[in-house]
Symmetry: C2
Subunit: 138 residues, 2 copies
């Protein structure tokens, strides 16, 4: 029941990207150094973030990655979901085909409530909120 390194890395990378003016493109190698994420692993994470349209990538010389949307419209949940998939505290929340008791089971309804409480917090804060309180000293 814990965030993976992948998620943590993604957050750190996004925090670094968010510290630049919208539209800025920085190479992955630079993100890797500043967010302290293994470069080769970051390339995979970047792939996930790009697929989820959280960042955009530019190939070729002077290419790199940057935010795909303004930081005000990217929630913390968006970032986590992009790299770790949707949050399901319990398998039974993934769909009624997993657990036929969904409609009557008391445990199911509590997991559901807990999950909603968690997601509510994570969707209530944007990358802009996070960046406002985080400064990079380079």
């Amino acid at each position: 029941m814990q965030l993976t390194n992948t998620g943590e890395y993604a957050l750190r990378a996004m925090l670094y990207l968010g510290s630049h003016p919208m539209g800025t493109i920085v190479p992955i190698s630079e993100v890797s150094k500043n967010a302290i994420v293994p470069e080769n692993f970051l390339r995979k994470i970047v792939g996930l973030l790009a697929k989820a349209r959280v960042i955009r990538s530019v190939r070729g010389a002077s290419g790199g990655v940057g935010l795909a949307k303004p930081p005000e419209s990217l929630t913390m949940y968006d970032i986590i979901e992009a790299v770790e998939g949707k949050i399901y505290l319990n398998q039974c929340l993934m769909g009624s085909h997993i657990c036929a008791l969904s409609s009557t089971c008391a445990v199911h309804s509590i997991w559901c409530e807990a999950q909603e409480a968690l997601k509510k917090v994570l969707t209530s804060r944007t990358l802009a909120d996070l960046c406002a309180l985080t400064t990079y000293t380079t």
Copy 2:
């Protein structure tokens, strides 16, 4: 970011134990059959639940396991914590020695808030609540 099998098994086992009058002792083999948990694995889980004083175990002939407290005073969180350890959505929440930025990092504070929201739901429901809506047809 998901409950493990261990946690799910523990909940199911507790649900079965909770369906009996307080004080009842049933053998692990019986719990295994009714909660549908591999017996040998259940023995390990039972060890954790006993160590956390969530259940009590009785050795010897006509021994077995039973609730250590009335189901009204056992929360869903108690059960999860007993087998999976305390919930930490992010490593940085485990203590200030893990992440020195705890006091100023905006991400930290949001994880903290999300974790509290999650724990609040899980501690608000007792085993009695769960059992009230779950019936065993034997």
